[in-house]
Symmetry: C2
Subunit: 432 residues, 2 copies
């Protein structure tokens, strides 16, 4: 790019996959990006657009010549176009829709009527289906004579006369069976139907849990309207996991390193503000014991240890609980057992660590009672941490709040407050 | 189960998928589990074993009658058996291998010679392939006349005369093309070959990045030895994400809620011990300022605020960096840009939050200078937090250490030490 050699650039980029080109575009800075796109020009591929992160994508769409953009978009499958336009703002969305042929435009607009993050947005509308009473020979002849089969398909969906899917037959089974075998007899054992308004997280869960390859999507009347394939489900699953990780760290839905600094700053601030509030609460607790600390400054030195240990133990317990809720390993059926289990783990960890901490403290400050106080406070705080770490996510989940998003604040507030209160409170009673 | 009615149990479990039965077994306690398995008896399915978590799986294998176990295992595909036995201890592994037919046993033993977590363990050995010079008609005739096709396959792998894979043809394309078309001409554009010793995390990355459905696996000489399909890659991707989440929280590789309490306790302790050490380090820093605190106890009340804010900001920055490394969005090419970006974000967040914190502190303690001190300390700590949050994972990654596992300790130690030192140090200089 630096030497402005267009042919060389195109030679270099030729062997790269669209996803790699998109990664490249995300990793360079905005100025280089603009130069590269200007240079690359007409070669620009629709798939690159699909692979780009939101922020960069909008920028690139602005940079592309409308003609190039129109061509790029026309190459894409309709479900990729949906994915592309759903996050764009009005005028950009219109520009892309305008570039499509009428039939594709209709398909995209139809898909956009389904709720965001629903199966309807995820599915492709091209489905290969056959009447349930056909045999292998009829199906093969039908496929062989079809003019336009979808690019990728793995199953033939068997439907009843009212277009309701009843079974899936894999192409592999079809190829391996004799012509007179009924399709019904070689249907997959595992068969899941997905309602068009199902949340995409539930779709991904079903694919992962039941090892599905593709699944038919039905409308409110149970009629076949599309199909979702495993590659789409894999992307959703990956996104859901990513969201959980980022939310647990209080980074919100920050999507990418290529966002602008100001956007990133804005996204991270809310959580920090909340943390400021909870830290202030902890400070208030400490303030109640100012006189105790004034008498025994060693307490100020030691108190962060109790709080920090509690925070860590709480985060451990919390993370396990949030993940177990997400993967549905933690349900109403075993909630009580899991809670009892965590309490026991917290208690055991507390007792194990209280002994060395207590002994070391007693030695360092030549005050045996101080060792007893810090050890006891640690046991209390680790017990509360483990309990809060599992109970708070379960409660938030019951209230319909995403536990990954909000649990962290509550748990660390709890462990800070309890940690400082237990330690300073015990010290006041025992040592003064 | 409670009323010991075997037929009713079997009726109830009949419509459930193996994965759901496995979930059920994991969620009940060990006593009920044993009763259920005794009651369920011969109906026990090999697939249920595949779906179980490690800990519970070993328990269940112990409970099963050897006869039932042998039958259950014989139903499974060889790659599922590999998955099943690789985590088992010697005697259990031998028992299962002994139950297999000789040819299957060989296949499983062969697979076990590949390194753990490598493509060789993940692949299935049944591949459908064809010479590269064939046309559609030949391929269809060949498939139609094959006695035994794999249960699931999506591509025909084209190979050269030395059995080296050169391209993939999807079954869908094959069905949709005329007999005289050369297979080469309808091959997939995207084609990736996977070496048998490649790490499974890299395999999952390739599937996710290039939207692969299946990919041929080759030995050291480049010859076709198996195939990996997207459903296997999806499971690996999910596991990798799960590991990252748990490691970030310092929970180690804790696999499941169904582990025993004592195992869970042992797994969580190491991280807590490390945290005890770093907390002690922070306490040492505070101890240097005991005299300052003795004069002005308000400092003890306020100091956890600075440390806690730093810990949070550091975790935010760290989580984004660890994830970006895992998804390869953060590479050598853009490392400096990302570091500069994080520093800027840290500084902006610090300045934004320092103002309200400083003002409130000044008012609450009627000491304007105290407000200036805490505000300045906060800016310093948030800047260091953001910087450490991105630099430490990058360094660990360069050293070959998993950044998800170890970054947390370093970053929070850093923010604790810097937070206390900056706040108490400034206070000593400015206020005394």
């Amino acid at each position: 790019v630096d030497i402005d050699d267009r042919d060389k650039l195109i030679d270099l980029m030729e062997p790269l996959h669209a996803a790699d080109i998109a990664d490249l575009l995300e990793q360079i800075n905005a100025y280089d990006r603009a130069r590269l796109i200007r240079l690359y020009g007409r070669e620009f591929d629709g798939e690159i657009l699909s692979e780009l992160d939101e922020g960069v994508r909008e920028e690139v769409i602005h940079l592309l010549h409308p003609q190039v953009l129109a061509e790029a978009v026309r190459e894409l499958d309709s479900d990729d176009v949906v994915d592309l336009v759903e996050d764009l703002e009005g005028p950009q969305q219109q520009a892309i829709l305008g570039a499509l042929e009428a039939s594709d435009r209709l398909a995209v607009q139809q898909a956009l009527t389904y709720p965001e993050n629903s199966a309807g947005r995820l599915m492709q509308r091209e489905v290969v289906f056959a009447p349930e009473h056909w045999n292998v020979g009829q199906a093969i002849d039908y496929l062989r004579s079809s003019e336009e089969l979808p690019e990728q398909f793995y199953h033939i969906v068997l439907v009843d006369p009212r277009m309701r899917p009843v079974a899936n037959v894999t192409l592999g089974k079809l190829m391996g069976s004799r012509r007179e075998v009924a399709l019904k007899d070689i249907a997959e054992e595992m068969f899941q139907i997905i309602p068009v308004d199902q949340d995409e997280a539930d779709v991904a869960y079903a694919f992962n849990q039941y090892h599905l390859i593709s699944a038919p999507v039905v409308d409110d009347d149970g009629r076949l309207v599309g199909v979702i394939t495993i590659d789409d489900a894999m992307i959703v699953l990956d996104e859901e996991n990513e969201e959980d990780i980022l939310r647990l760290a209080g980074v919100g839905e920050e999507s990418s390193l290529s966002d602008r600094v100001i956007d990133t700053t804005k996204r991270r601030i809310p959580w920090l503000v909340v943390n400021l509030g909870t830290a202030a609460l902890a400070a208030l607790v400490i303030a109640q014991f100012e006189q105790t600390i004034a008498v025994l400054v060693a307490l100020a030195v030691l108190m962060p240890i109790v709080a920090s240990m509690g925070g860590n133990a709480g985060t451990q317990s919390l993370t396990v609980a949030v993940r177990a809720l997400a993967t549905r390993d933690l349900t109403r059926a075993n909630a009580w057992r899991v809670i009892r289990r965590e309490m026991l783990v917290g208690l055991l960890n507390g007792l194990t660590l209280a002994i060395p901490l207590g002994v070391l403290t007693a030695l360092a400050f030549s005050t045996p009672l101080l060792g007893v106080v810090i050890g006891t406070a640690l046991v209390i705080n680790l017990f509360v941490a483990a309990l809060a770490g599992v109970v708070i996510p379960i409660l938030l989940d019951k209230l319909g709040v995403d536990p990954a998003l909000a649990s962290g604040v509550f748990v660390t507030t709890m462990t800070d407050v309890v940690g400082f209160f237990a330690f300073l409170g015990l010290a006041t009673v025992v040592l003064l």
